[in-house]
């Protein structure tokens, strides 16, 4: 699973022109992966966050101080190991905006 973490486009105040450019880059990347048949799924997430934590189930609504570390979406891709997933993540379009990709292997349980 490739998890995308960073500030939201809305918070960065990207212009329509910049948004279009981002869209184009993502489109190209996701098409490239589709063509290679490695995408198994993925979604983009809405910005608002609600957190429930602790034994008292304390509820807090975002935005949080660490808004630059918001999970914005994910892709599930098939890769034989971390290195291959890392290779796939090279094309993630938003590194220049300070965003991060976190690679996690989905656990497969024994039947």
């Amino acid at each position: 699973m490739l998890i995308f973490i960073g500030e939201t486009y809305a918070d960065m105040g990207l212009s329509p022109e910049e948004l279009q450019e981002r869209m184009g880059k993502w489109f190209a990347w996701s098409n490239k992966m589709e063509a290679a048949g490695i995408v198994k799924g993925g979604e983009a997430l809405h910005d608002p966050v609600r957190r429930i934590s602790g034994p008292d189930r304390v509820v807090t609504d975002g935005p949080f101080a660490e808004s630059k570390e918001l999970v914005g979406g994910y892709f599930i891709v098939s890769a034989k190991d971390m290195d291959e997933a890392e290779e796939i993540a090279q094309d993630f379009p938003d590194y220049d905006l300070g965003s991060t990709v976190e690679i996690r292997e989905i656990m497969v349980f024994d039947q």
Binding site: T8, Y9, A10, G13, L14, S15, P16, E17, E18, L19, Q20, R22, M23, G24, W26, F27, A28, S30, N31, K32, A44, G73
Partner: protein, 411 residues
């Protein structure tokens, strides 16, 4: 891989949607509208990653309509009483407002708001680029070479004035139309010049400014009541200038002057459109400085080579321009032409009369002209001295490099 979406679609759609929604909700809700649209565009960005809609424009219109309905609810919930809305909630024919010509009409109204005389010129520019052209603060500050903080202040001053002066989202009355139209043309001219004459590192943004100016001018010409000699002449002028855009900066980012430009790179279709526009311009009774400036640009375009330039014709046009619109830069331009005509005695008498303080950041042009004058009259030492002075005053890197190159040629 191609993203299958036409260039600048988002930016253009943004300007359209802002205008339509403002037409529906009124200027007092401008900020609310801008926020709502920002959401819509972010959403498009995310949603289109995987699949781009078959008709992207229709997608935007549909989602803007949905936004309108959301906003109607919100505005009502906030107990904001706006005549148009409370009267019209049921009766607004929403779909009608999204027809092409209605969208254009709304955009034109927005242009008149942006260029309202209550706003200072620098506020007009910032407001127009933000609200009509959908530039971000960052893009505006890069385009105008001004700090983001300053642009932010200009925008908020502009918004405040729009609210306080109760500027309405309407076309000006007939009695003030020609004066207000002149104001709009001036802003378009400024936007173009920011792109054309400034030579910043980031050329992309320059081209976009020129493109925006052309687009806005074209929009004006679509509306009968806004057609005039000056609006056609300005369009002609912008086309003539834009035709040379490709040839004035070299691949390694240095300025190429008119003398050394590759004339085969000039964009012929634009010259043709400019000519057509000038032919229309002269069928209207009004005359403007744009007519003369376009005529000067046309003279340059007509010349097969720099040597073929009809400097006498250009001089006559500059003289007329000077009579109509006297400026220090205009005087200097005339002397530059006189140097080409080798009328050195005349130049020697006139050049000392030019007031550098009136040229502001273009003062270096005066010193460079002095340098050129001395060089051509065989006084190399003075030429170098003046070129050094020009180099001291120029603050743009590309211009500096250009002058440095000239200085080297003197040696």
């Amino acid at each position: 891989m191609d993203s299958q979406v036409v260039d600048h679609l988002f930016r253009h759609q943004y300007g359209k949607m802002i205008a339509v929604l403002t037409n529906i909700f009124g200027l007092p809700h401008l900020e609310l509208i801008e926020d709502a649209l920002q959401d819509t565009f972010v959403k498009a960005t995310l949603q289109w990653r995987k699949k781009i809609p078959e008709n992207p424009e229709a997608w935007f219109i549909k989602s803007a309509k949905n936004r309108t309905i959301d906003l109607l609810r919100k505005v009502k919930a906030d107990q904001v009483r706006n005549d148009k809305i409370s009267h019209g909630a049921a009766s607004i024919h929403l779909n009608d407002l999204f027809l092409d010509h209605e969208i254009e009409d709304s955009q034109l109204r927005m242009i008149f708001v942006a260029c309202h005389p209550e706003l200072a010129p620098e506020e007009q520019l910032a407001f127009a680029l933000k609200t009509i052209s959908g530039f971000s603060l960052k893009e505006i500050s890069a385009a105008l070479l001004t700090k983001e903080e300053t642009i932010k202040k200009r925008l908020s001053r502009a918004r405040k004035k729009v609210a306080e002066k109760q500027i309405r989202f309407e076309f000006p009355d007939k009695s003030e139309l020609s004066a207000r139209l002149a104001g709009v043309l001036r802003v378009i001219y400024l936007i173009f010049n920011e792109g054309f004459h400034s030579t910043k590192r980031e050329q992309l943004i320059d081209r976009e400014l020129c493109g925006e100016a052309l687009r806005l001018n074209q929009l004006l010409l679509k509306k009968e009541m806004l057609r005039s000699g000056s609006s056609y002449a300005l369009f002609g002028l912008l086309c003539f200038h834009a035709a040379r855009l490709e040839s004035k900066i070299s691949e390694n980012d240095s300025i190429i002057d008119l003398e050394h430009q590759d004339r085969s790179l000039w964009h012929f279709p634009l010259i043709k459109i400019g000519n057509d526009s000038m032919n229309k311009a002269v069928t209207y009774p009004d005359r403007s400085k744009y007519h003369l400036e376009a005529a000067i640009a046309a003279e340059h375009l007509k010349a097969k080579s720099f040597q073929d330039t009809n400097w006498h014709a250009i001089l006559a046009l500059y003289k007329k321009l000077q009579q109509q619109n006297p400026s220090e830069l205009g005087r200097l331009n005339m002397l530059i032409v006189l140097i080409q005509l080798k009328k050195f005695d005349l130049v020697a008498g006139e050049l000392p009369l030019i007031d550098e303080s009136k040229l502001n950041q273009r003062a270096y042009l005066l010193w460079a002209t002095w340098a050129d004058f001395h060089y051509r009259t065989g006084d190399k030492k003075s030429a170098l001295r003046y070129m050094d002075k020009a180099l001291e005053t120029v603050n743009n890197e590309l211009e500096r490099n250009y002058l440095l190159k000239k200085r080297n040629d003197y040696l």
